[in-house]
């Protein structure tokens, strides 16, 4: 059959699954007085539509920052402004200043869901197909990989169930990766800057981008490399200036925005996160021993130290495949060791792990399922349990039918099978446990803690494995072609 038909079928099915999941409740539905992320997004539309640009990030009588104050970079704010504008056109009640707080209705839900679906289909779908097409792995492989990536349950559940716009920032990051692997480093760095200006969490990916571009520039023999560096730098600065233009009138306003973006006043992690610190707290309660400043310092140092190996490796031996692996390693390190991590941040490493699907289906699928599972407490809170079970099983079955997950031979094969089955079994037990068993009174958070510790152990394993992959990587032909094109 024609490739277009396949693309259409895969896209339609992906849309169908997204639409099914969006029928569920969103985060904080009907939960007064703070509601959830859905209300946060709606509130930003209200603020950005009604107030002048320079007051968006400042506290005032009409913009109470304690009630879901804007804490994402300017691009999110502009996006909110567009959505707010549309809301106002459809029904002014939706974004009326201050009186629309906690507005909920069927039509409004439909509108909000459509905005996510639109962003997803327009930005995320094309980049997925393009990025696998660019890998030159053949049409069938491309469709398979794209299908599985589009069906990655974590992203669907968070964007279309819980309600967020992760598809935009992740889509932009993938555009960055796509452009870089095509050898267009300026476009790539612009795409990355846009992603960073949509969500500051994309800093998780910053170091590999930086190291890769710098490494390439070093590699260019003559003066050429220096020029490239200047050009890239100019592109980055220009993108940032354009995005931040309204807030650059004074130093204070810029600092105020920055202060909103990096709220060090908040804790080490939110709720229960499957990262290193949260798991460590089972043994040592860091909060009781160290001051916040010390904890921040500790996080910073440990993150940087952990980042060094993969980044330096990339700097010295830049290649596309190594770059992709470094993206995984860097974002995983950030997730595990940095300060103020949300459980949803696992999507940032997850999406770059998905890019490895045609090379290492087993590890990607395992990671995909586990990362979704690590958000289980959140999903249960949002009423997305059936959606979680359905979509995760769907992902598992799809991957089993599209790929041969068994990679190795001999004793490694049995080990691999055993690990996977035990891991799946553990997830199933914990899922059923958190749904049916009532935890003892003195341990109310028993299951969330178990889930995050269980996931954390896995993530550390993944981190080790992907480091191993990065360091044993051999340059392949395609990389050479791209690099040559760059040098010449």
């Amino acid at each position: 059959m024609n490739i277009i038909v396949y693309v259409a079928l895969v896209s339609l099915y992906a849309i169908f699954v997204r639409w099914c999941i969006s029928l569920n409740t969103y985060s904080g539905a009907g939960k007064k007085p703070m509601f959830g992320d859905y209300e946060a997004q709606r509130h930003w539309m209200e603020i950005s539509y009604n107030l002048p640009v320079h007051t968006w990030y400042t506290n005032s009588s009409v913009n109470n920052l304690l009630y879901w104050g804007l804490d994402y970079p300017p691009l999110t704010a502009y996006h909110s402004w567009i959505c707010g504008f549309l809301s106002h056109k459809i029904n002014p009640e939706w974004v009326k200043l201050n009186t629309s707080r906690g507005y909920e209705s069927y039509e409004h839900k439909l509108f909000m869901r459509y905005t996510v679906l639109f962003a997803d289909v327009v930005l995320f779908f094309p980049v997925i197909f393009l990025i696998f097409k660019q890998m030159k792995i053949g049409e069938t492989q491309m469709i398979k990989a794209a299908m599985l990536t589009l069906m990655y349950p974590g992203l669907i559940l968070i964007d279309h169930g819980h309600f967020q716009y992760n598809c935009i920032s992740l889509g932009l990051i993938l555009f960055g990766v796509l452009f870089l692997s095509q050898g267009r480093d300026i476009l790539g760095s612009i795409a990355f800057c846009l992603a960073l200006n949509y969500k500051q969490m994309e800093l998780y990916h910053a170091l590999p981008f930086f190291c890769f571009l710098l490494g390439i520039c070093f590699r260019s023999q003559n003066q050429n490399g220096f020029f490239r560096l200047i050009k890239i730098g100019l592109a980055v600065i220009a993108t940032f200036v354009l995005c931040w233009l309204p807030f650059l009138s004074s130093v204070e306003s810029a600092i105020q925005v920055l202060h909103r973006l990096f709220p060090f006043a908040r804790g080490l992690y939110e709720d229960k996160v499957a990262n290193f610190w949260c798991t460590l707290s089972l043994v040592i309660k860091l909060k009781n021993i160290l001051t916040t400043e010390h904890i921040i310092l500790l996080c910073l140092v440990s993150t940087l130290v952990m980042l060094l190996p993969s980044s330096l490796d990339l700097l010295i031996r830049p290649s596309i495949q190594r770059f992709k692996l470094a993206l995984i390693n860097s974002s995983l390190v950030f997730f595990l060791f940095s300060f103020q991590v949300h459980e949803k941040s696992i999507l940032i490493p997850a999406i770059v792990v998905c890019l490895q699907i045609n090379k290492e289906p087993f590890w990607c699928v395992w990671f995909g399922i586990l990362s979704t599972f690590s958000m289980l407490p959140l999903l249960i809170k949002d009423g997305l349990t059936t959606a979680f079970i359905g979509s995760t099983l769907l992902y598992l079955i799809l991957s089993l039918s599209l790929y041969d997950l068994v990679q190795y031979t001999g004793w490694r094969k049995s080990l691999q099978k055993l690990m996977f089955l035990v891991s799946l079994l553990g997830m199933a037990v914990l899922t059923i446990g958190s749904l049916t068993v009532k935890p003892p009174v003195h341990l109310p958070d028993l299951f969330p803690v178990l889930v995050s510790a269980y996931s954390c152990v896995h993530f550390v394993l993944f981190l080790v494995y992907f480091h191993y992959r990065q360091f044993t990587l051999e340059n392949d032909k395609q990389d050479e072609v791209v690099l040559k094109k760059k040098v010449s």
Partner: protein, 491 residues
Amino acid sequence: METWWMVVGIVTCTKLLLFPSYKSTDFDVHRNWLAITHSLPISKWYYEETSEWTLDYPPFFAWLEYLLSQIAQFFDPDMLKVENINYRSDATVLFQRLSVVLTDFILIYAVKEFCTKCIKLQRKDDDKQDIFTSPFLILSSLLICNAGLMIVDHIHFQYNGFLFGILLLSITRLYENRNLEGALWFATLLNFKHIYLYVAPAYFVYLLRCYCFKSDGVAAKISWRTFSFTRIIMLGFVVISVFCLSFGPFIVMDQLPQVLSRLFPFKRGLCHAYWAPNFYALYNVVDKAATLFCKKYNLLNVSDSGSAMMTGGLVQEFQHTVYLYCQQFYTFGFILKDQKSFLRCLILCGFGSYMFAWHVHEKAILIITIPFSLLVLDKKRCTAIPHFVYSCSLFIISINIYKSSLGNIYRIPWTLTQLPLCSTLETLYLLGIVPLEIYNSIIHPVLGLDQRLPFIPLMLTSVYCAIGIMYCWIKFYILTFQEKMPKSHRE
């Protein structure tokens, strides 16, 4: 085979994802039946009328609800109280949706039976290579992923999946020449849901002709010498004992008339609230148009016309239905020879009933489309029709949930893949659905007509589909006869 299980898994997961979707009043109907069968003695099942959703399926279905209610009490005991009208707690939704998904495994089993027993696989072991060319997978996905069933069962909420499973199982048994078992399954099916009476004539004639006469369907003429009394007695015994098992208790309690009056509510109108796109939809429109025309030109006294026109002439139509039934018997006797022609007759029978029967629900189109899917692999010439019917029928089914865009998304892939098989005219017809839908969902409300003339979109859709269905019916009739006629001429 492995791929086949993957298809099953994917479809089942998709069903799970549909749990929070729109539920029609049929959801409350079935919850009410759970409550009735759980909390009342058998003698009151068909008398209970606290809720307007009274039990109006045959006894086997009531027993099924009884069994389900035994499990339901562990989910939410409140859903089993008759007074709790329109009760929809989360646990209730979960349980009812799950029960549909689980009973669907009967359909999956039946599809597997049919595929392994009744299709000769031309190319073996190639189902790994390309999913789209393996006949086994095409057929099973057409049946298991049937979008119509999906919409009716998992969105709208009904239990058609396992019923069609039983129908399919009975067809499979007839194909295998295990006629008694086939009859047993069909009798069971009738006692689950009596709408399958639509296709009963085909069964009756087939079993009479090919089972009770020992000629095994080779000869064109039936000779009375081959008639077997033992066979008809065995057949009668099987069928009657199934009916006794189901209706027996009610006959003993002397409640049969009450049960039957619940099963066949002739007081309801000729057309269901949502006009099924059948003959009467066309008839009604012509009727209305004629009335308006006459009024305009004063050809008719105002007292004669009026709103009652739509139900006028009921008696004649009723006679018409009976006549049609008889005529079906006659035609079937003519073309029924082997299992394949049986399937065709089954479909024709479903068509005939759908077009002309009393108070047809638009969902009844499934009785045509699902057996039709079995013909897909038959011959190239015939395949276009099932596709065509299929697309039409999906559209019809979504009439009553046409507000939900979900159904639309689900339909598009099917219609897309089917276009190449249709002729130009048919393609044009199918594409015509697009402007129709645009009018219904956008232009009509924008013009502000949805307050004044809310029934117009429904009527347009219904009439438009009726034309398509009518066309399919006639074309299929012609095809069936073209194939059979030359043979009988020769003989």
